[in-house]
């Protein structure tokens, strides 16, 4: 097992290098140097050359890449072109918002998908409602769901604030009131996707002998479903949740934009709008590292839990 994990760790390094290099070269090469953008359309070639020299854009691309990479590893992502602030600080400020949003969303999705699909003796109407909710969750784009929630809970009922963000330190209730709609919006797709995986596994587990034994012993249907079947059927959902983290960043970009949350996603969207390369690169790098790391964690967890791989 240790060799398997070590091999996965070693494989992650070239993957990361390749992805960050791809990101760096594509963003800098195809968009060109930012000199013309910063100085305007009719800047003199001399001014452009001076700016290139100042920022180091006159060096070969691979030198620039390794320079950027070594700085990035120490947390120095350069300064934003638009705000002139250090990019590292902007990322550090935005990351906790996105991480909290993502964790809540995944947690809620796993909880709803497993609990609602394990209900013993659920009436057929309720089962059909859950299947329908799953379908809606998978097919409704994030931003449309978010807008519907805002219309219902903020504009019509006036229960929740439309958009914005209040940190924990300024009051837990206010914090939760601001985060509840974004979390619901982001988790809807995963609620649907996890349910599809969980239903298959649950009905498979439910036919096993130990479930029949538990039922024969006279345990209550709820105890059989939640204590015996659920823990045995949840593993594929956990693996899937780990692998969903990359996909989730896409959803976070949209959700944070709808609800004006100061997270990584909105930072990325505004960097794109302003062609702010250092910010784009830094966010891209954070996403890539997070995705590779989460895949690694999911893989290692799976190795630990699955005896077939463990025994090799």
């Amino acid at each position: 097992m240790l060799t398997h994990i070590a091999r996965r760790l070693l494989l992650a390094i070239p993957t990361l290098l390749a992805l960050t290099a791809l990101l760096f070269f594509s963003i800098t090469k195809i968009l060109g140097t930012p000199a013309s953008m910063m100085l305007g359309e009719d800047a003199s070639p001399k001014a452009i050359a001076e700016l290139n020299a100042r920022y180091g854009f006159d060096r070969p691309a691979y030198v620039q890449y390794f320079d950027w990479l070594t700085r990035a590893m120490t947390g120095d992502f350069g300064r934003s072109y638009t705000s002139q602030d250090p990019v590292g600080a902007a990322i550090a400020g935005a990351l906790p918002v996105t991480v909290e949003l993502a964790l809540w969303a995944i947690f809620l999705a796993v909880l709803a998908a497993t609990a609602l699909n394990s209900l013993p003796n659920a009436p057929p109407a309720l089962r059909r409602l859950v299947v329908f909710a799953n379908l809606v969750g998978i097919t409704t784009p994030n931003f449309i769901l978010g807008i519907c929630l805002i219309l219902l809970f903020s504009v019509h009922l006036g229960w929740l604030p439309t958009t914005g963000w209040v940190p924990w330190s300024e009051g837990i209730v206010a914090h939760l009131r601001h985060i509840i709609m974004p979390v619901l919006t982001l988790s809807a797709y995963y609620f649907g996707a996890f349910s599809l995986v969980y239903r298959v596994e649950f009905s498979d587990v439910y036919r096993r002998l130990y479930i029949r034994t538990a039922r024969a012993k006279g345990l209550s249907p709820a105890s059989v479903a939640f204590k015996h079947a659920l823990p045995n059927a949840i593993l594929p959902v956990i693996t899937f949740a780990g692998l969903s983290m990359g996909h989730l960043t896409g959803g976070a970009v949209v959700t944070e934009t709808v609800f004006s949350m100061p997270g990584i996603g909105r930072l990325f969207v505004s960097a794109i709008a302003g062609r702010d390369f250092p910010v784009m690169l830094a966010v891209g790098m954070v996403v890539v590292v997070a995705v590779v790391a989460m895949n690694l964690v999911a893989d290692i967890l799976y190795t630990i839990v699955n005896p077939q791989i463990r025994l090799e």
């Binding site: 990101l23 784009p141 807008i147 519907c148 996909h247 970009v253 969207v269 890539v288």
Partner: protein, 259 residues
């Protein structure tokens, strides 16, 4: 083949979107790009869904918007199948080192967030209809490739493939005559599902401001501009939003009804 009720509902929704796209000039009550002084009006008898911030008829824009969504969705899915199916077929059939490399590349792409990737590439190449088709097709092909590879692995074990190999058939002939016909149904289903996700992604790009440039009616961009006037006229966002959701649901239902 018996059709499930899901497949019938899906087909009806897709048919509705296709009808709107094809007959748009005939059935839309107004020119979708013509602005007027009657801007931001609520639903009325003349403008069933009201008008937008430039005084354009929302219903007409929703009807015309079906074109861009369907072209991008179907075009991107077609491209994804054209790239993904051969890669999956070859990787699954040949196995060994080829398969190992293909799986690494496929898994890597699948792990990357499609929307973020699409955002970066769209910024580089610029949003236009052909560009969006290519970008989304490029983002979606790995899912098709993984599915085709898995199906090919299963089909490869059958005796008739062994018989075809024993008969001296070339790899290309075996893939085309013996493997492909057995997986085409699943690929067709995946095509429909890919269309639905391509429409979601392109609408999300539009919502983030990277859609087809105006004045072409585009559902995602319409939701975006309506978002600023949500309290005045919710139909401005909800009408194109429902159109996106219904079309996506339609393709998804068709695709998921095939086992």
């Amino acid at each position: 083949m018996r059709l499930s009720s899901n497949a019938i509902i899906g087909a009806a929704l897709v048919l509705l979107a296709c009808t709107a796209a094809v007959l748009a000039p005939a059935i839309a009550p107004f020119d979708p790009t013509k602005s007027s002084v009657y801007f931001l009006q609520g639903p009325s008898r003349q403008h069933l869904l009201g008008t937008d911030e430039l005084g354009r008829d929302i219903l007409s824009r929703v009807i015309h918007g079906a074109r861009a969504s369907l072209i991008i969705g179907a075009g991107a899915a077609l491209l994804a199948v054209l790239i993904g199916a051969p890669v999956g077929l070859i990787a699954g059939y040949l196995g060994g080192r080829t398969d190992l490399i293909a799986v690494q590349v496929i898994d890597l792409f699948i792990a990357l967030p499609g929307l973020v990737l699409a955002l970066i590439i769209t910024v580089m190449v610029g949003p236009s209809l052909p560009n969006l088709v290519v970008v989304l097709g490029f983002v979606m092909w790995p899912v098709v490739a993984r599915l085709v590879r898995g199906q090919t692995l299963a089909v490869r074990e059958h005796a008739y493939v062994e018989a075809a190999v024993a008969a001296g058939g070339s790899t290309f002939w075996i893939l085309r005559r013996h493997v492909w016909p057995n997986i085409a149904r699943v690929v067709a289903a995946q095509f429909a599902i890919t269309v639905s996700f391509a429409i979601i992604t392109s609408a999300s790009l539009s919502f983030l401001g990277l859609g087809i440039p105006p004045p072409t009616p585009d559902w995602g961009s319409m939701v975006r501009s309506g978002f600023d006037y949500l309290a005045f006229n919710p139909a401005m966002s909800l009408a194109p939003g429902s159109a996106i959701a219904a079309t996506v649901l339609g393709f998804y239902l068709i695709g998921s009804s095939v086992e």
